[in-house]
Amino acid sequence: MKTTYPKSRLPSVRKKRRISAKLSPWLFLAPAMIIFSVYVLYPILSSISLSFYNWDGMGEKTWVGFGNYVELFDSDAFYTSLKNNLLWLIFYMLAPPLGLLIALFLNQQVKGIRIVKSLFFFPFVISQVVVGLVFAWFYDPSFGLFNIAIGALGFEPVAILANEDYVTFGIIAAGLWPQIAYCMILYMTGLNNLDAEQLEAARLDGAKRLKMLWYVVLPQLRPATFIAIVVTIIGALRSFDLVATMTAGGPWGSSSVLAYQMYEESIFNYRMGYGAAVSVVLFLIMDVYIAYFLWRMLRREK
C-alpha cells in the first residue's frame, strides 16, 4: 500500500494542476483548430465577401455590391445548373431504397457471401474519375454496352452524353452506382444489429415479409436511413467529379451543376467574384441540410 502523500495534493502543485486542467483541452485542440480555421472556416467568410466584388484573380478588386447576384439570377446558365442540381437531388434519392433492397438481398449466410458483399461495395471505393470514364465508355453511341443492350430491346442507339435531354440523367445514373453501394453498407450494418427477440415475437404474431419490413425492421433501421439520406443529399449537391470527367458541363452547358459552373467561371473565365457568388448560392442551399443535420446530432448529444 502506498503511504506517501501524493505530490498532486500539495497546495502549489494543485494550483498548477488547475491551471493546466483549464489550459490543456485548448492545447490539444489548437493544431486541428488552427489549420481547420485557416483552410475551412476563414475561406467561407472570405468567399462570401469576395462575391460582392469583380475580380479576375490578379488585378484590383472592384466593389459591385449585389451586382454578381443580380447578373446570376438573370442568366440562363444559372437556372440550367440549378435545375440540374434539383434533378440530382431528386434522383439521388433512389440510392437509399435501392441500397436497402440490395442489403436485404445479400443479408444471408451462405458460402462466399462476404466476397459478394465486398464486390457490391466496390464502386464506392474507386475514384469518381474512374467511375466517370467507365460510364463514358458504357454510354458510347457506337459500341457502348448501353446501346448494345437497348438495341437488343429494339431501340435506336442514343448518344446519351451528347444529348441535351438525357445527359444529366446519364451522369446521375453513373453517380447512383457508388452511392447505392454506400447506402447498402449502411443498411447492412443496420440489419446486423436488428433486435432478434422483436423479430421472433413479430414472427410468432404472424408478421410476414412486407408487413414485417414496414412495421418491425424499418423502424429499427431509422438511424441508418437518416445517415443514408444525409450523405445522399450532400453527395447530390456536391456533384462535380462526374460532370467534369464525363461532359465538362456539355453539350452547351446542359449538364452543368452549380459546383461545376463555379469552377468554370473562376478558372476558365477568370471571374472570381462571379464564381464566388455561385458558390455562395450553393452553400446557402446546402446550409439548410447542414443545419438540420447538426441540430439532430447535437440534440441527441444532450
Binding site: 490539444f28 475514384s127 449502411l186 440489419l191 456536391r238 469552377y263
Partner: protein, 283 residues
C-alpha cells in the same frame, strides 16, 4: 435475422438464390468488367470493333507497360502516394488530439467547436476554392505536393475529429480520473492511456481517409498543374484527351488508378467498414 435465412427455405429457393448471386454481381459490375477486359485487348481488336467479344489476344503486359512507358502514370502514382500518406498521418494525428479534448474535457464552447468541425465537413468545396487557392499561392506552395497535403490535413481534420471524438467518448472516465489522482500529466494520460486504447479506431480511420484523399479530384485540379506533382486522378483525366480512341490504354490507366484503394479495401475490409459506419452512424 431479416429476411428469413435462406437455408430454412426450400431447395428451390436455396438453389435459385445461389444462382442469382453470381448473376447479380456480374450485372452490378458489368461496366467495370468491360473496362478490365478492354485493358488487355490488342489494338487490332479495338480497330476491328471487337469490344465485347472474347479478346483475340491477351495484351496484359504490353498494354500496362505501355501505360507506364509512354505517359507519366508512374509519376502520378508516386505523387498520389507522396500526397496521401503524409496527409492521412497528419489528419489522424491532429484529430486524435482534438477528439480527446472534445470527448474528455468539459469547457465552454466544447459543443460549438464540435459543431464547427462537423459542419465544415459538409460544405461544398467550391466555397473554399478561391481563398484556399490564393492562400496556397501566397505561401509559395502552389503546384507542390505540400499544397494538397496541407489542404487535405485541414479538411479531413473535420471528419476525423468527429470520428475520434465519438470513439474516445466510449473510454471510461474512471481510467482517466484514476491517472489524474496519481498526478499523471495530461499529456502522459493522452499518450500512455488514451492512445493505446484508440489503436483499432486509428486503423479504421486511416484506411477510410486514405481512399478519400486518394480519390480526390477537385483539389488536384485546383492546387497543382504540372506532371511532377499531379496525383493520379487528375493525371488520368488529362490523359483522356491524349488517348481519345486508344481505349485499351485508357482502360488500363483507369485500372491502375483504382488498384491502390481497392487493394487497401480488400486487405483492411473489416476496418474500412467499421470506420465508415462508426463515423457515420454513431453520435
Amino acid at each position: 435475422m431479416f429476411p428469413k435465412p435462406i437455408k430454412k427455405s426450400g431447395r428451390f429457393a436455396n438453389i435459385s438464390y445461389r444462382v442469382a448471386l453470381p448473376i447479380s454481381i456480374v450485372l452490378w459490375l458489368l461496366p467495370l468488367i468491360a473496362v478490365m477486359i478492354t485493358s488487355i485487348r490488342s489494338i487490332e481488336d479495338i480497330n476491328k470493333g471487337n469490344y465485347w467479344g472474347w479478346p483475340e489476344s491477351f495484351n496484359f503486359i504490353e498494354n500496362y507497360t505501355e501505360v507506364f512507358v509512354s505517359t507519366s502514370m508512374g509519376q502520378y502514382l508516386l505523387n498520389s502516394l507522396l500526397i496521401t500518406l503524409p496527409a492521412v498521418a497528419g489528419a489522424v494525428a491532429l484529430s486524435t488530439l482534438a477528439g480527446f479534448a472534445l470527448a474528455k474535457y468539459n469547457f465552454k464552447g466544447n459543443v460549438w467547436i464540435f459543431a464547427a468541425f462537423i459542419g465544415g465537413n459538409f460544405v461544398p468545396f467550391q466555397i473554399l476554392m478561391i481563398p484556399v487557392r490564393d492562400l496556397t499561392i501566397d505561401l509559395g506552395l502552389y503546384d507542390t505536393h505540400w499544397a494538397l497535403i496541407f489542404f487535405h490535413i485541414a479538411f479531413q481534420a473535420g471528419f476525423c475529429t468527429l470520428f475520434m471524438r465519438n470513439f474516445i467518448v466510449g473510454i471510461p472516465d474512471a481510467l482517466i480520473e484514476a491517472a489524474r489522482v496519481e498526478g499523471v500529466s495530461e499529456w502522459k494520460i493522452f499518450w500512455h492511456i488514451v492512445l493505446p486504447l484508440v489503436r483499432p479506431a486509428l486503423a479504421a480511420l486511416a484506411v477510410l481517409v486514405f481512399t478519400f484523399i486518394w480519390n480526390d479530384f477537385f483539389w488536384a485540379l485546383v492546387l497543382v498543374q504540372s506532371d511532377e506533382v499531379r496525383p493520379v486522378t487528375a493525371g488520368l483525366s488529362s490523359l483522356q484527351g491524349q488517348w481519345l480512341s486508344s481505349w485499351q490504354f485508357m482502360s488500363a490507366g483507369a485500372v491502375v488508378a483504382a488498384v491502390p484503394p481497392v487493394l487497401l479495401f480488400f486487405t483492411m475490409q473489416r476496418h474500412f467498414i467499421t470506420g465508415l459506419t462508426l463515423g457515420a452512424t454513431k453520435g
